[in-house]
């Protein structure tokens, strides 16, 4: 919960990094765009990740999955 991790969030549709980051609480990076899906990554603790999820939800995006791996 306290550790900073790498979260990979997959969203339905194609979204640009700029669109996502204009009003985001945390900067996210678009890692992959394929098959009408966009995967964004962020390095944060859980509080930051939850904030980003709410932000994406607020933008009307459909979340498909979230993966968590330890930050290097």
């Amino acid at each position: 919960m306290t550790d900073v991790c790498r979260y990979a969030i997959t969203i339905l549709g194609t979204v640009t990094e700029e669109d996502l980051n204009t009003t985001s609480p945390l900067a996210v990076t678009v890692a992959e765009v394929a098959n009408d899906r966009t995967q964004v990554t962020l390095l944060s603790d859980q509080a930051g990740m939850v904030g980003v999820i709410r932000h994406l939800h607020g933008l009307g995006l459909i979340l498909l999955s979230i993966d968590r791996t330890p930050a290097l």
Partner: protein, 895 residues
């Protein structure tokens, strides 16, 4: 602070005396502040000591802080910003007054307007300060978040914002981070290190743990402070701490459940029961807990809990109000459900009764709903719905209503009428109609409905008839409402007279409208109903100006302003009209010095009110001022803005005013064709020249006056000979209509314009007659600019008039205003109206160079009274600023 606000929400919680000092975190917050960061974000899950960390920082900071503890009810924007304004008041009572006034009047401005007003207010802060918003994760309402987004982007340097939250808020923090304007403290920073853990358990909790036990406990709780605190409580008196620690494993939630059970089991029965029963309360007070639990020693129990470190947080310095740590409260509530639904409902009912008696209607209704005691909830709601809606808590009320099962919410005329009032004030007229229809049906279902409810329904209908432009219906409804209302029901009578005044306003019946609106002012003042009172004052002043009674307009406006400035509460943005009316009178009297400030205030309040009409009108006034000062480009800019804003929607009466100012500017730019296009666009007919309609609508006076100015302009250019003849015909009709209806403002302006027409047509005697007649109307009211704005062609006539007219002093003032040197040799005794002793005293103070505030202090009068004296002095001396006043008074030997 208004009594319905919970002071505990604004109180900075007390710092626990026994704690682990977080020096590194305090230093980091300090460094951020020094580096000019605008925001400190403390983001971590519950139980990491976020609040304590900020409290420790603030305790050592030589800067005041405003604190606001948020809860989920603050997602209602009206409630959020009301509390925010109250928090700002604690730093400086003048901060947040405009917003508070708007919300108290039942209006909810757009997020941009609130943010602009907040930024404007914060810029006025006399000292730098910190604003802390605790539990910000509870705010998910887009309107509030959007306002904060704008606020953050424009935050004045005097303010540093601290957000304490369990999750990162939906604000554009990435941008702040990129620009190095954000200090962040997160869970990894807040978690206790091994040293912190040892200090906490052995020094704060009074245990004697060995180093390996401390390391093990820190590892199992991951430095999570609440977990450590619970573990410490569980281990008190435990002979084998190592074995206890070994049992701890799993997630934070699991540890929390396990440890809380452990702690509760160790408590004496009375304390255990008290904790469970009182957990239904968000805030704890000895008396409130007594009422809920049926005990008489709750105050002492709360002190015992505090001493025992049982997650009780004091909310005030007097230690009367407390709250449980959120995590602890959540768990207690889940254990409480084991007691059974009926018992829990009883606790909520008792809490509702206590809150209702203490005057906290919102909390009372919520507890009644939690108890599922719908009759109680409905009776509380009906008793309080008007004040709640007037405070702007519409969303909260709507969410309460949705909590009722349909069978428990019979159609309530009281509730429907309250909603109709709210939508009337917000200008949402279709919804007013809808709720009035429902109220009518509910009243019919009652059979013998009380007169007061029927009267209220008729009141609302009459006010709606005014909006719809139906005067006859409005008169009937209002008169019937007045008959039905009890003589001491000033709220109803005030509202009914508002409807009646509106109907007479539509009919152009000046004496009756003045009488009705004065009655409305009287009754609303007695009812303490500030918003309709100000609406009535606005109607009286604006109609007085239309009918040429500048003194009446000024007197009413100044009286209202005086009352507002003396009032402890804020004033509603509708008061923008009152400031605007004073500005209009000063404009007509050519007292331009303070107008800009008045118009700016009027404009700002109008924007906040969200009423486009006020904003449009404000722009017209600014444009007129700029033009009078010779700044045509600025005037053009403001007039264009007024025109653009008009497209967003405004009442029909305002469009002619916009057109009139447009035409003035276009004529000043020598663009008559464009001016004609504007008049056609706004409804006048041209076939070579102006077509005069059979019946002149008084609301269109500004258009007819503009048509006259256009015709004069063309006549002067000699481009259209017909134009000037049709102008004369139009002036004749307009003068006849205005004189018949006593619309002296229009009459005077038209006479001045006809004088110009007569000059142009070579009829000097007729021109002289018009001028003398205009001066008869103008002198008692101090009109100057209506003469001045039409150009200098009147100067020779004025000079001739000086020889024959008894209005010599007035003529000299007009000539002065035209820039014609005044006759010399006059003395004070020759002033048309000598200065009173008090006025001379004020004038001498001005000559000494004293500021208005200093004059007020010296003469023991209010600032407003000083302003009033100054304006009167200017009027009597025929000047428009203090330098000229002093100069002229010295020349005349007055001072």
């Amino acid at each position: 602070m208004p009594p319905y606000l919970l002071a505990t929400k604004l109180h900075q919680p007390a710092l626990p005396p026994q704690r682990v000092h977080r020096l590194a975190l305090v230093r980091r917050l300090d460094e951020g502040l020094q580096a000019g960061h605008c925001l400190s974000l403390i983001s971590a899950p519950a139980g990491f000591g976020k609040t304590t960390c900020v409290l420790e920082w603030l305790a050592a900071l030589p800067r005041p802080a405003a604190w606001l503890s948020l809860d989920s009810a603050d997602n209602d924007p009206a409630r959020f910003f009301t509390y925010l304004a109250a928090a700002l008041h604690k730093i400086d009572p003048s901060l947040g007054r405009d917003i508070e006034g708007t919300l108290q009047s039942g209006q909810l401005p757009a997020p941009e307007a609130i943010a602009a007003a907040l930024v404007n207010d914060l810029l006025q802060a006399r000292q730098p300060f910190i604003l802390v918003l605790d539990d910000f994760h509870l705010i998910q309402e887009p309107a509030v978040l959007h306002t904060f987004e704008t606020l953050l982007a424009n935050l004045p340097p005097q303010i540093h914002l601290v957000i304490i939250t369990r999750e990162d808020p939906q604000l554009p923090l990435a941008r702040l981070r990129a620009h190095n304007r954000l200090t962040e403290i997160r869970a990894a920073d807040l978690r206790f290190s091994g040293t912190d853990t040892a200090a906490f358990l052995n020094e704060v909790m009074g245990l004697s743990l060995a180093l390996d036990e401390v390391v093990e406990l820190e590892s199992r709780t991951e430095g999570w402070i609440v977990g450590l605190q619970l573990a410490g409580l569980s281990m008190r008196g435990n002979s084998d701490p190592a074995a206890f620690i070994n049992k701890l494993s799993g997630s934070h939630r699991h540890i929390l459940n396990y440890l809380t059970e452990e702690v509760l089991q160790r408590l004496p029965e009375d304390l255990h029961t008290f904790l469970l029963q009182s957990s239904i309360l968000d805030k704890l007070h000895g008396d409130l807990c007594d009422a809920v639990t049926g005990r008489s020693d709750s105050g002492q129990l709360l002190e015992r809990l505090l001493t025992a470190n049982l997650f009780l947080i004091p909310l005030d310095n007097e230690q009367q109000w407390y709250r449980y740590h959120h995590l602890f409260a959540d768990l207690l509530r889940s254990y409480l459900t084991r007691l059974g639904k009926t018992q829990v409902a009883g606790l909520h009912q008792r809490a509702a009764a206590w809150y209702a008696q203490a005057g906290f209607s919102g909390e009372a209704i919520q507890h009644a709903l939690d108890a599922e005691d719908y009759p109680l909830a409905l009776s509380l709601l009906e008793a309080n719905i008007m004040p709640l809606l007037m405070r702007g808590y519409a969303r909260t009320v709507e969410s309460w209503l949705k909590s009722f099962p349909p069978e428990a919410l019979p159609s309530s005329p009281r509730t429907e009428l309250a909603f109709a009032w709210m939508y009337l004030l917000r200008g949402n007229y279709p919804l007013v109609d809808l709720h009035l229809d429902r109220a009518g049906q509910a009243l019919a279902a009652l059979g013998e409905a009380p007169d007061s409810l029927n009267a209220e329904l008729l009141c609302l209908r009459s006010n709606l008839s005014f909006v719809k432009g139906l005067p006859q219906e409005g008169i009937q409804q209002a008169q019937r409402a007045i008959e039905l209302a009890s003589p001491d029901d000033h709220f109803l009578l005030g509202s009914a007279y508002m409807g009646l005044g509106g109907a007479y306003r539509l009919m152009g019946d000046y004496p009756r409208l003045q009488h009705s609106y004065r009655q409305a002012i009287h009754h609303n003042r007695l009812a303490g109903n500030f918003l309709p009172e100000m609406l009535a004052v606005s109607a009286v002043t604006l109609s007085a100006i239309l009918y040429g009674q500048l003194s009446v307009a000024l007197e009413e406006s100044l009286q209202a302003i005086q009352q507002m400035e003396n009032s402890v509460s804020s004033y509603p943005p509708i008061s923008a009209t009152v400031y605007g009316a004073v500005g209009l009178v000063y404009y007509e009297r050519n007292l331009l010095d303070d107008i800009r400030e008045l118009f700016a205030k009027s404009h700002r309040l109008s924007r906040l009110s969200g009423h486009n009409a006020g904003v449009v009108y404000g722009k017209i006034l600014v444009s007129r001022c700029e033009q009078a000062a010779g700044r045509l480009e600025e005037a053009e800019h403001a007039a264009r803005e007024a025109l653009d804003l008009l497209a967003l929607g405004a009442p029909v009466w305002i469009a002619p005013e916009v057109a009139e100012q447009q035409v003035r500017i276009l004529l000043a730019r020598d663009q008559p064709a464009a001016a004609e296009a504007i008049l056609v666009q706004f409804g006048l007919k041209y076939e070579n020249s102006i077509c005069i309609p059979g019946r002149l609508e008084y609301q269109a006076d500004p258009l007819y006056l503009s048509a006259l100015r256009l015709a004069l302009h063309r006549g002067r250019l000699r481009t259209e000979s017909n134009s000037i003849r049709s102008a004369l015909a139009l002036a004749d009709v307009l003068i006849e209509a205005a004189a018949a209806d006593l619309r002296n403002g229009t009459l005077l302006k038209t006479l001045v314009l006809r004088a110009h027409v007569n000059i142009l047509m070579g009829h000097p005697a007729a021109a002289q007659d018009d001028l003398l007649r205009a001066m008869e109307i103008g002198e008692p009211e101090g009109y100057i600019r209506s003469f001045l704005d039409e150009g200098p062609a009147l100067i020779p006539l004025l000079k001739q008039a000086y020889l024959v007219s008894p209005q010599k002093a007035y003529i000299l003032r007009l000539l002065d205003a035209f820039g014609v040197p005044a006759a010399t040799g006059r003395t004070a005794a020759q002033l048309p109206e000598p200065l009173t002793e008090r006025e001379a005293e004020v004038l001498r103070a001005i000559a000494e160079g004293l500021k208005y505030e200093e004059i007020a202090t010296r003469l023991y009068i209010s600032l407003n009274t000083v302003r009033f004296y100054v304006k009167t002095i200017y009027g009597k001396l025929g000047v428009n600023n203090r330098t000229r006043a002093v100069d002229k008074a010295r020349r005349l030997g007055i001072i």
